[in-house]
Symmetry: C2
Subunit: 199 residues, 2 copies
């Protein structure tokens, strides 16, 4: 026996969520249909609205439906520190440590010649333009400690160094091959505090 | 820092899914917006369509957008066996053991005087009408082994016994206080095979 086509379609669609296998998708679908149809409609609406309206922050490229995200719109942060990250999730992970008071720049990926991802796709020209303004005194490279993340950090470090701006790389505690978003706050805070200068 | 209002709304809406805490909801929302907007729209559509069109099977009351669910529409099952369950998830759990070839009746709940849930809310009148036809020779009560599930089974057993139809209760292997949908297939199959007659 299997469920009716529309329930199967819903179960299949729920599989697009990270961490949701066939069994959980089934339980989710049945739970919503049995007990919480109103919440299911709200979720449908929230998905549609977010997909239609959420774009990127003009300044840091993180996800935002406003021209400036909350961090970039804030005036109480330290403009001399700029943390460069691969993704909005990493930005959230660092924000949640509470250990960083500067601004961010989100690459939305890493250099990957094989996939045709070059510096322009990561907005590195925009990053350099921003540094050119002169307010940033230190660029903290917090790309993932993977081969691609390291290569991307190295590439940016070269450019920033030429501009005479200090460059550092988060270091201690981030396991090699790991991904920032899965690391606990304490380790991340430690990694930020123990950053080493690349100059 | 927090995410923009629409992302927060999406994160909150994702929390309606069973087993999804604040951290997973965040990761889901960002994953969809960063990498899979098409899947997010498909999920929105599947949710809306299922909520709008999935009702209940006329015969067994399980979730179905067709008048008859796949089990009730099948003619190759044994009409002398009827398994009574609390929910469509339990029906799926028993189907997946492959150890039952009869039909089902889904109560969609259990007797609960405190919450004002009486026999009529569980369709017990419809269940008795169906038994009245005379095809069913044994009613297998597979409500959850909780206080309410036992009370519901007891109530139905009384009525069915009066009609001179055999009543049994699934037994071995189902831990007391446990819920059917979380029990592995082997245990469930065993519980079905080891059912004891209530007459
Ligand atoms: Zn921003
Ligand atoms: Zn049915």
């Amino acid at each position: 026996m299997s469920f009716s086509p529309l329930i199967q379609q819903l179960i299949k669609a729920l599989r697009c969520l990270p961490g949701v296998g066939p069994k959980s998708a089934q339980r989710m679908a049945l739970h919503l249909l049995e007990h919480d149809r109103e919440a299911a409609l709200e979720l449908a609406g929230a998905l549609r609205e977010a997909v239609e309206k959420v774009g990127e922050c003009e300044r840091c490229r993180t996800l935002s439906e406003d021209p400036l995200c909350a961090v970039c719109a804030s005036k109480s942060r330290d403009p001399s520190l700029l943390c460069v990250l691969e993704s909005p999730v990493d930005m959230l992970a660092i924000e949640q440590t509470g250990g960083f008071g500067g601004y961010y720049f989100v690459l939305k990926g890493h250099l990957s010649p094989i996939d045709g991802v070059g510096p322009e796709d990561l907005g590195i020209d925009r990053l350099l333009d921003r540094l050119d303004v002169g307010e940033v005194k230190e660029v903290i490279l917090a790309t993932n400690p993977t081969v691609e993340g390291e290569a991307t950090a190295h590439y940016i470090a070269e450019q920033v160094r030429e501009m005479g701006i200090r460059v550092s790389r988060i270091a201690h505690g981030v396991p090699v091959g790991g991904e920032l978003e899965f690391i606990d706050g304490g380790t991340l805070a430690h990694a930020l505090a123990g950053r080493r200068s690349l100059i």
